[in-house]
């Protein structure tokens, strides 16, 4: 029986594993964390349908539990990856017939954008932390009480030369709209302002959700990047931006600022490129063999990609790539 190692147990890796198992191929999932699931383990409800992330995760896990040919190695970090061998940080080497890299992305560290005051002022939080708060049903101000005015800032750590992140993280605009709606439902009398550069509502139902946010929830959208955040005497946050559609500077006090942190390439990608002869894109994400005909193939025969390892993607796209990568693996194994 052929044996394939899938590195990374996020949605892309899980989907790829279950498709390979269906084709009677033995699979080992190597996962750095203590359990599989990846980033979506921390998300609350998913855009655009507000489906609980738990539901999606449970359905995917269900597909894996019934297989005997599956080994899950949690708490194991892969360091070097070739078609026939995966080396773990412990030094252990695992043999195989092909490998799929599904190690996803890294959240941008908001402390780097010091001007937004993350880690300095209370009540400046990231979108990922807000998901956590939603999960714990515990959205409140640090000092206690409900926010009356909330600002959500787009493109934090994306499209920003100053932090070496030129790319667009693709899913944060729609996440920002989703979170604005959720906040407004939670605090109906609060005012919610989204500060955006461009609204990139790329998927089905996304633009419709944006419109819904505007007209049914009265969420305010201001085109302009917040330039700085400072504290006020009464423990609020003063934000400044340009309202570029009127060409005037704008300022206001808010109780809470949510930073829509971007999807950054894993630092480990550079090591992969150097040690395993894989190619990187300028963004730091892995370079697929071809943008049209080889999206899930790498430049090394027998090494495949799935999910956000090659670029920011949503869950549906990542899952589809899991399937496509499994298909690629099967074709490659048949050829040999």
């Amino acid at each position: 029986m052929k044996h394939v190692i899938v590195i990374g147990g996020g949605v892309a890796g899980m989907q790829c594993a279950s498709e390979l198992l269906r084709q009677n191929i033995a699979v080992t999932i190597v996962e750095k964390q203590q359990c599989i699931g990846g980033k979506i383990r921390n998300w609350h409800k998913l855009f655009p349908s507000f489906t609980p992330a738990d539901e999606v995760l449970a359905a995917m896990q269900q597909k894996l539990t019934t297989h005997n040919n599956l080994t899950i190695r949690t708490g194991c970090e892969a360091t070097c990856i070739t078609p026939q061998k995966v080396t773990l940080s412990s030094g252990e080497e695992l043999r195989c017939d092909a490998t799929v890299i599904a190690t996803g992305f890294t959240l941008f560290d908001a402390t780097v954008k010091e001007e937004y005051g993350y880690g300095i002022y209370d009540n400046v939080i990231t979108s990922a932390e807000l998901e956590q708060m939603f999960n714990e049903k515990n959205v409140h101000l640090k000092q206690g009480g409900e926010p009356k005015r909330i600002a959500i800032l787009h493109c934090v750590g994306s499209r920003d030369e100053k932090v070496c992140q030129r790319h667009c993280s693709k899913v944060c605009c729609v996440t920002g709209v989703k979170q604005a709606i959720e906040l407004k439902k939670m605090f109906p009398t609060a005012d919610v302002f989204n500060f955006y550069m461009d609204m990139r509502m790329f998927g089905p139902g996304y633009e419709e959700m944006y419109r819904e946010a505007q007209t049914s929830h009265n969420i305010h959208f201001v085109r302009g990047r917040i330039s700085e955040v400072s504290p006020t005497f009464n423990n609020r946050l003063q934000i400044k931006a340009e309202d570029t559609l009127t060409g005037r500077p704008l300022k206001m006090g808010v109780d809470m600022l949510v930073l829509l942190v971007g999807m950054k390439a894993n630092a480990h990608n550079t090591t992969l490129a150097k040690d395993c002869n894989l190619t990187l894109q300028p963004s730091g994400f892995m370079q697929p063999k071809d943008s049209f005909l080889g999206n899930v193939a790498s430049n090394v025969e027998g090494v495949f990609y799935a999910g956000a390892i090659t670029a920011p993607k949503n869950i549906g796209e990542s899952i589809n790539e899991g399937t496509a990568a499994a298909r690629g693996v099967v074709e490659w194994l048949e050829k040999r």
């Binding site: 049914s216 009265n218 009127t246 005037r248 500077p249």
Partner: protein, 109 residues
């Protein structure tokens, strides 16, 4: 008054803490569709009045939504109610209705 040879500029900043948003909320409350504006400028591009005067419908209604009412009524008076803007608005906003509403709400400003 003595002329000291200098003047103080009025701050250009839109200060949402100082602006009274009551009228703005009333306007949005009556026609929530105004919030659907995506700032595309089609209305201004096609505007009969805007091609002959400084009138910029998109900018004026955006300012009104931010609580900047000064001069908005006078600006809206330049509108000839031809309705061309409504024909082009991609968000289907009843733009001419917005002109009328803003004039009604801000007549005393």
């Amino acid at each position: 008054m003595i002329n000291f040879g200098f003047s103080i500029n009025r701050a250009r900043t839109i200060d949402l803490d100082r602006n009274n948003l009551r009228k703005s909320n009333e306007i949005i409350g009556e026609m929530p569709e105004l919030q659907a504006c995506i700032g595309c400028g089609s209305c201004t591009a096609s505007c009969t009045a805007g091609n002959l005067t400084e009138f910029n419908f998109r900018k004026v209604h955006t300012l009104v939504r931010r609580g900047e009412y000064q001069g908005a009524y006078e600006e809206m008076n330049k509108c000839m109610l031809c309705g061309k803007c409504r024909l082009v608005c991609p968000r289907g906003i009843n733009t001419r209705g917005i002109v009328m509403l803003i004039k009604r709400k801000l007549g005393d400003f």
